[in-house]
Symmetry: C2
Subunit: 482 residues, 2 copies
């Protein structure tokens, strides 16, 4: 009781401070917000090896991977800063009456404004790019929102280092106090209280379905509901068409062995479902893929809980009638290491077992074998919303199966041709999100500068004199209307 | 039980048909969707006086008002058609690798696609413009969504006429069967089942807070939550600054007597809260406004339920300690007529009574009298999310009180200078929506072509050969990448 009261008081203090900061920060110019983001970038770089080593110790990720992820994080901050500097991101729309007839209709001018304080929950698998100074924080700060990050308990020290860098940048850029705050309290209850606090205006989350859905539920049942953008992972179906399989099974095995085991399979874009048709090349492909997966050394997962969950979920699937494990089971894995696992099943069994459509977070992939294109279509139609669908097809396949692209559109946020779903390009055209349960709001992306739209809303100004309007809404020509 | 079963079967049939229609309709070109919308326009016009007379009999609205509203409805359809014809509404973003180095990064191209079947709940106060063929239907059909309209029981005959016109247009334009469906079943249960049906992808609603919030709750607690855009009304605060009051009290009384009584006050943009400071002109303004309101003849409201609710809610407010009725009470109102009512209260009392911040749907307005600018700011900060805030200010007022504009931005979707909130211009720059409870998602507008964004989500295509891509994503230059 006493603990709950002090936690509640802590959250209230943090959110009141965030609200006060918001009302100052929302009036800070785009140019100055850009400086702030670039300053965060510099401060993170200045942490040097200490940051990489701390994250490596906390997450078991390799330093090469972490250096790469840091680069991605810095790129995200830079792209948001460049968006702010271009100053065309606020969706200004002017509806001006003709000069010769100023009374013809009202003068209406609209642009986007920030929603309010945003609470960010980082992910376990991206300690930089989707955590403390990751995409959610960068986009919310760019939008003009104050940010409260709840540190991920699996990499608390890393989070504290990054938070200190952001706070240092805020001081250097003379931003309002508390524009960014870091809550180290790791409990589930703290997250709930942050989402439920009346001053919280929106939530960003990257992680598991159960975590994201719980936050969604808290937000939706508030007296005043708020938007939650939760990116909750996916099984990322891969459609393998017959001619591609027949002619490129070797390349296919190579590509997908790499994609399934990349980062010990700990990516929300991990290809967890391969869908192929019986035919020439299939068994050879399975043998090759299986060999390549077996040749991959077992690797340590992010933390004990994730390792245990991987072993439990994959074991449960292998117990289902009709599922055959293709890779040989390896024993004697230490700590929380994971072996890559490939299993196979007929489309018929797959369609009868909804549990097979759920994500196994880790280097696990299930190959569904269809006897004809209609079965393949039935399998694709049976899966829930996905971050990605991939299509492995030759020109010949395309001539017979182009309709699968139309069928994939309602399922996914991104559709990949002859490639792997892992590796998310950070660019304006990227869509990282998708129909539920891939994300809680498919109308937005979590990656790329368009992700700023999650934290913005339009406001229209009617018949204001030019001088009274926000700067972005003033027309250059002083002789124009109003 | 039997009734519930048959209702459930009806809703299931309708939504399965809508889903089947969606998968055809989403592939219909923008140009053909535009033709369809223009055809709906023609078919509605062809209903002629029968439509106006039917609506007048069902709603007690004047024919002049209804003819005007029909014009607005046709304009909305036309603007959506023009948007489709321009073909730049799908937010195409291309991320193409340089020709000299096609492997530099993936080729990513994104555009917007429709969400799926949309269920529309029309309003009682706009039998045309926010009902069967209103803004929600027009924007959802433009987006490529199939539409199911639940007829408003208060104007069922009108809704059936308009639905038949849409269906006629669908046949003439050779649209997929069931692209538009009309559910005449008026029960609350039918609405609930429609929102909860697994095939429903999104919901549009215009009406009361209790109705919109109930639908939001049904949608948010589905196994797979869906977006609900509910526009739920507002009290539309009007800030009256001292110099404006002193110099223009007569014009102010004239403007606001008209706005408060327009359409018997049955607009979501009705000015229900006037906020002024003590000072020269105030009492004269109150007298003038009161006289003008008293001179307005009592008028019949949309239906009995609305009339009763108006009398009950306004009477309850007048019983609160510290509230003074300014207009004289008129008795002997017949049927469900309403008298315009103006009441006054001090800021001090207002701030202590949260019930005074709730909407009284009808020609009721509460004048809050503040003793200084800080009280005025406290009153503005105390109100919930609003569709509009209006500011009545002279240059002199602006010099002292410009900060009220910054304070109004987080509160409202539209901010009006020296005018009235009633009258919503149908244009691209319009924002009709606002922070909760004005609407359930302030990131979108219900009016203007931007309203189409409610029903769309982005999809990215990675490394597809040019020929395999949707038409809108192909680059003109055939020698470019991909």
């Amino acid at each position: 009781m006493e603990n709950n009261q002090s936690l509640s008081a802590l959250v209230d203090k943090v959110m009141q401070q965030s609200a006060a900061a918001f009302h100052q920060y929302r009036q800070v110019s785009s140019a100055r917000r850009a400086e702030f983001l670039l300053n965060i970038r510099e401060q993170i770089l200045a942490l040097g090896d200490e940051l990489i080593n701390t994250a490596a110790a906390e997450t078991n990720l390799t330093t090469a991977r972490l250096i790469n992820e840091r680069g991605r994080t810095l790129l995200q901050l830079q792209q948001m800063a460049e968006m702010l500097q271009k100053n065309d991101w606020q969706e200004v729309i002017l509806h001006l009456p003709p000069k010769e007839n100023p009374g013809a209709h009202p003068d209406i001018r609209r642009m986007l404004f920030p929603l309010g304080p945003v609470v960010v929950f980082g992910s376990s698998n991206f300690p930089f790019a989707y955590s403390t100074a990751g995409g959610d924080t960068a986009s919310a700060l760019a939008a003009g929102c104050s940010v409260v990050v709840k540190a991920h308990p699996a990499h608390l020290k890393t989070s504290c280092l990054v938070a200190a860098a952001i706070q240092q940048a805020a001081i250097q850029s003379q931003m309002p106090p508390h524009v960014f705050q870091h809550v180290e309290e790791g409990s589930f209850e703290a997250g709930k209280l942050l989402v439920q606090h009346p001053q919280t205006a929106a939530v960003g989350f990257t992680g598991s379905f159960s975590g994201g859905k719980a936050l969604w539920d808290y937000a939706a049942t508030r007296p005043s509901p708020i938007p939650v953008f939760a990116e909750m992972g996916s099984i990322n179906p891969v459609l393998i068409f017959p001619d591609y399989l027949r002619t490129q099974y070797e390349k296919l095995a190579e590509l997908y062995a790499g994609s399934i085991t990349l980062g010990v399979g700990q990516f929300c874009t991990n290809p967890g479902l391969l869908i192929a048709m019986e035919g020439e090349g299939l068994e050879t492909f399975i043998d090759l893929l299986s060999q390549k997966l077996a040749a991959t050394a077992p690797a340590t997962m992010l933390h004990k809980g994730i390792g245990e969950s991987y072993n439990k979920k994959s074991s449960n699937i292998l117990l289902i009638n009709g599922i055959k494990q293709v890779t040989s089971t390896k024993n004697a894995i230490e700590n929380h290491q994971a072996n890559a696992i490939l299993a196979r099943v007929t489309a018929n069994v797959f369609l009868q077992q909804p549990g097979l459509r759920e994500e196994v977070f880790g280097p696990f992939s299930l190959l569904v074998i269809c006897s004809n294109p209609s079965e393949m279509m039935a399998v694709l139609s049976s899966v829930q919303g996905q971050l990605t669908v991939s299509m492995m097809a030759t020109e010949e396949d395309w001539n017979s199966h182009a309709r699968f692209l139309q069928a994939a559109i309602p399922v996914a946020g991104r559709i990949i041709c002859n490639g792997v779903p892992t590796g998310v390009e950070v660019c304006e055209a990227m869509v990282h999100g998708g129909p539920f349960p891939a994300s809680t709001d498919s109308r937005f992306t979590a990656v790329g500068i368009q992700s700023v739209k999650r934290w913005l809303r339009p406001v229209a100004f009617q018949n204001f004199p030019q001088d009274w309007l926000p700067e972005a809404l003033k027309t250059k020509d002083e002789n124009s209307s109003a």
